[in-house]
Symmetry: none
Subunit: 214 residues, 2 copies
């Protein structure tokens, strides 16, 4: 008896590609697709799937709320969240709302299938297929402010953005220091922090990141 799956994902191309991937497996059967959270809720009631693959980020009704609704009406259905970032605080919220686990969109498709099958067998969250450090990151995510957008310039302080802007205009550290009236070491320290926050490898990459987002 194949596992009846419902895919809830707003990006059609991704949704259809995913369906293709899943339908190659004999033990899995995609019984429906939903284009947002509300649709997922309705489809779930109608189709009674065994498991739902639910994107966190969807229009009209987000994955977390949809999970909550579905778990209220259909407690037996298993829900796996799909998310881009593992720092996503909504993953924790989703698990609280009744999700059985989560899969990163960056996951390998083999790992993807393994997680689905493990969840089907009712294996716990701390399954070996879960990315390492889940618990740790989950706790961290709870403590992090919701405005945190990983990789964005938003998390830089004003001073750091200012310095990055100077750097992006082609100035050297010494020049920047003179312009701002601080020491060379201070500029270097700021840049050091910038590189860490942006997860980049050096000045040029940081500037590219700045030019894209700026």
């Amino acid at each position: 008896m194949p596992l009846k799956l419902l895919i809830a994902e707003d990006q059609r191309l991704f949704r259809q590609s995913l369906r293709l991937l899943l339908e190659r497996e004999r033990d899995l059967r995609v019984v429906g697709e939903a284009i947002d959270g509300r649709d997922a809720f309705e489809q779930a009631l109608k189709l009674k799937p065994d498991m739902i693959l639910m994107d966190v980020d969807m229009p009209r009704l987000d994955g977390v709320t949809a999970t909550k609704l579905i778990r209220d009406c259909l407690p037996e259905v298993k829900i796996l969240m799909l998310s881009v970032h593992d720092e996503d605080a909504r993953i924790v919220a989703a698990v609280r709302a009744g999700a059985c686990g989560y899969i990163l969109k960056d996951a390998d498709h083999a790992e993807f299938l393994r997680i689905i099958r493990a969840t089907r067998r009712g294996e716990p969250l701390h399954s070996p297929f879960m990315p390492d450090g889940f618990a740790h990151r989950a706790v961290s995510a709870l403590h992090e402010s919701p405005n945190a957008s990983p990789g964005g310039l938003a998390l830089l302080t004003d001073r750091e953005r200012e310095i990055l802007a100077f750097a992006a205009s082609g100035q050297g550290n010494k020049e920047i220091a003179d312009h701002l009236g601080v020491s060379l070491d201070t500029v270097k320290t700021h840049l050091h922090h910038i590189y860490q926050k942006l997860h980049v490898n050096g000045r040029v990459e940081a500037i590219l990141s700045f030019l894209q987002t700026g």
Copy 2:
């Protein structure tokens, strides 16, 4: 002769699903995958694909900048942008940078394949498969006014432009040397000449000049 495709998309699951979808087609062949813009640049140089499906939103190096870099080194390769929103201003930037068109991630997979094949045949951007909307009009407008006069970069030799492109992707001299199979000193000499020809003071200024003019 199947079309050689390179997929540049940071979400692994989407990337692999996409590959699956494309490989079912006899006339298409996925020759490689790239996980970000910089990787796309390197893979493009290595694999020489006919067409690149490039996500706009990628870490390390965004799709627009990557498009610029690739078009400068491999002018014959066709680049199709992938984006979530058709209001995305980066789509316009991408077309300006040399992309042949764009596909929304919300597109139907059949439409997706149609656009790829239309682009392969060199059909104009205002193809009927293009969704209506802002970006569509912008793309058409751009297509009607082909200008792009090469600036100071014209006096650079092919090798110099190539090296500058590598530098602009965030790579260090050692990395560039390894990629090109030449010595570190050679790369430094080329850069030395580049700085002199462009009348700039260093790496960052040269890159800015490259990104603006290229």
